[in-house]
């Protein structure tokens, strides 16, 4: 008999980190070792309540536990936000393709993130940094609504700023008194001279509206559609290309994605909705 692909692996929330007023990171320890590739996603079950897809924000090198950063956006995420340390959960996956790290070798990687979209990017970033010599440079542009909405603040303002070969800039849509950085949406800190476009790969993850305008910005800079990588968020439910909810045209986001090049998606309507 085949393994039941709908059966989650049991796990436990062992730590909860407040990232912003609406975002928390949950450190989840699965009962068994859990391997995934950066950019792949998991289905996290709150037993008896529901299941939702998330891309782990930790490095795949860590297999005994993973971090999942979750914004309170709907029913399941609101319930997860009420959970305490010790909560039992289920994890299915990993699903999907993940980021094609090997295709990035020798390139300048231009990462554009917004809001909770930094979660998958953090995992990617940590993976890239582990073998930083393989890449020409890593340029990261990240924005949030207000300074309070920036996540991973400790590392964002701390260790990540000091890594050799990483160029990191931050922005907020609306500033307050303590903020002396850039004010404006993330595309305002994206400049064509940030990377060598011809040898570059752009990676975009964030809310749909931000992804839309960031993609257009990258095209304007001269990135080819096949060099723009998008981490798509759709209603992934089964995770294995059967239940149908996450389709974009012929693609199942859960199986063929969640990472797509803009080239794959550009002819489909409503990809940003």
């Amino acid at each position: 008999m085949n393994k039941n692909l709908y059966q989650p692996v049991n796990g436990e929330i062992i730590e909860i980190i407040d990232e912003s007023p609406t975002i928390k990171s949950f450190v989840v320890a699965p009962e068994d070792k859990f391997n995934f590739k950066t950019g792949q996603f998991v289905e996290l079950t709150l037993p008896g309540e529901g299941e939702a897809p998330f891309t782990p924000s930790s490095s795949p090198a860590q297999t005994d536990k993973m971090e999942i950063t979750i914004m309170k956006a709907g029913r399941v995420t609101a319930l997860l936000h009420q959970c305490q340390k010790g909560q039992k959960v289920g994890i299915r996956g990993p699903y999907g393709n993940g980021y094609p790290i090997d295709d990035f070798v020798g390139k300048e990687i231009y990462i554009v993130g917004g809001g909770v979209g930094l979660a998958p990017i953090r995992s990617l970033f940590l993976t890239l940094v582990e073998r930083i010599k393989d890449f020409k440079s890593i340029v990261c542009r990240y924005g949030a609504k207000t300074p309070a909405d920036l996540i991973y603040k400790d590392t964002l303002f701390g260790s990540w700023q000091k890594i050799d070969g990483v160029d990191m800039k931050l922005t907020v849509d609306e500033a307050n008194d303590g903020w002396d950085g850039n004010v404006g949406v993330v595309t305002t800190i994206c400049k064509p001279m940030d990377v060598d476009i011809k040898n570059g790969a752009a990676v975009i993850c964030g809310p749909p509206i931000m992804m839309k305008f960031a993609t257009f910005k990258m095209l304007e800079f001269g990135f080819k559609p096949k060099d723009i990588y998008l981490s798509m968020e759709k209603n992934m439910s089964c995770g294995v290309g059967k239940c149908g909810h996450c389709m974009i045209g012929k693609y199942y986001v859960c199986k063929d994605g969640p990472v797509f090049t803009y080239d794959q998606l550009k002819d489909y309507p409503d990809i940003w909705d």
């Binding site: 039941n4 692909l5 059966q7 008896g48 299941e51 209603n235 059967k242 909810h245 389709m247």
Partner: protein, 351 residues
């Protein structure tokens, strides 16, 4: 190939029922539905002229089933062999389509696979053409050539039973006392009946026959107004997708039981408003016309591109179920017209 004759269905079905659970067609109004056969119950054994009203997927992928439990895990239980009598060629072709999805090597659905392996398929030839039947538009015929364990053809004075698998041949061997040899001439008669039904199918759907590939017609028409036009009368009852033997969308949800938590798997429908909505509120298919478009694109373009087979067998169940009167054939005909108009204009412009 093993072919035998029997003059009555009951002893044959009794023999099947003696070996495993058997489901047979039962008249319900002007349609048939499946019901469990009880040899001792005095049930009337009927030979359904055309397909049964409900889709065969019910036997392999039930409307509602337990998919996982927590904290103790759940693996598929042993499925006992079961048999279904009266499946038509369109039903067998729908199983072929579902196999592509649920028996995909990398992600095999263990519940489907277990039932599939234990299903004994007894198909039968169509002896009539239903009002909504259009399998011939999808290269279908009124009888099955493959995909069955046993196939039953109604002929004068009885039935010809043909084995299509080792399981079927074994059954005939083991029950050889029930059957007699096929008398000369009966096979010819069977073929004549088959031809007759195929001809009727062709006649019935002559006005819908196009020389263009349906895939191209639909792909060309993806921006057509026809979907919004159809949406005007659609009441989103989702009946079309429920009775469709190839529609296989499902919904996973979690629930609480007395001593454990359960993850359930239930049929879903892409006609539902919130079908593709995400927690943040985004929904790529908010508009009903877009959902109808997606249904057509999935059936005739996306599925074909991925699996090499149309996701429609032309059984016509959706036509019967549609309270708004939408007829898939009529939509395809309209799209075909638009396709040809466009090509005509293109050709004219090129001159």
């Amino acid at each position: 190939m093993k072919t035998v004759f029997i003059n009555k269905l009951k002893p044959f079905l009794d023999a099947v029922a003696g070996w495993c659970e058997l489901y047979i067609p039962k008249k319900a109004g002007k349609h048939y539905v499946y019901s469990k056969y009880d040899p001792a119950g005095g049930a009337v054994v009927e030979f359904n002229e055309i397909r049964v009203c409900t889709p065969v997927k019910e036997f392999l992928f039930p409307m509602h089933e337990l998919a996982a439990t927590f904290p103790k895990s759940f693996e598929p239980e042993d499925i006992k062999p079961f048999a279904v009598f009266g499946l038509k060629n369109c039903d067998l072709r729908s199983i072929e389509i579902l196999d592509k999805v649920f028996e995909e090597e990398e992600f095999e659905d263990p519940f489907y696979a277990a039932r599939r392996k234990n299903m004994f398929i007894i198909s039968s030839d169509c002896t009539e053409v239903g009002e909504s039947c259009f399998c011939n538009l999808f290269k279908g015929e009124g009888f099955a050539r493959v995909g069955f364990d046993l196939n039953v053809s109604k002929v004068e004075g009885g039935f010809i039973i043909e084995a299509g698998s080792q399981k079927g041949r074994d059954f005939i061997e083991e029950h050889s006392g029930l059957f007699s040899d096929v008398q000369p001439g009966l096979l010819t008669q069977r073929d004549e009946i088959r031809d007759q039904v195929n001809k009727q199918l062709a006649q019935k759907n002559a006005e819908f026959q196009s020389d263009a590939a349906i895939r191209d017609i639909v792909e060309n028409g993806q921006d057509s107004d026809v979907f919004d036009f159809e949406a005007r009368n659609c009441v989103e009852c989702q009946g079309c997708t429920r009775v469709c033997p190839t529609c296989h969308c499902f919904y996973l949800y979690d629930t609480k039981r007395k001593d454990y938590f359960a993850k359930m798997k239930m049929w879903d429908s892409c006609m539902r408003m919130a079908y593709a909505a995400v927690a943040g509120g985004a929904n790529p298919n908010k508009v009903l016309g877009d959902r109808i478009r997606h249904r057509f694109m999935h059936k005739f373009v996306y599925f074909l591109d991925r699996y090499g087979i149309d996701m429609c067998v032309g059984c016509g169940r959706c036509v019967d179920a549609d309270v708004s009167g939408m007829d898939l054939r009529v939509v395809l005909k309209e799209l075909d017209k638009e396709f040809k108009d466009k090509n005509r204009k293109k050709a004219k412009a090129a001159k």
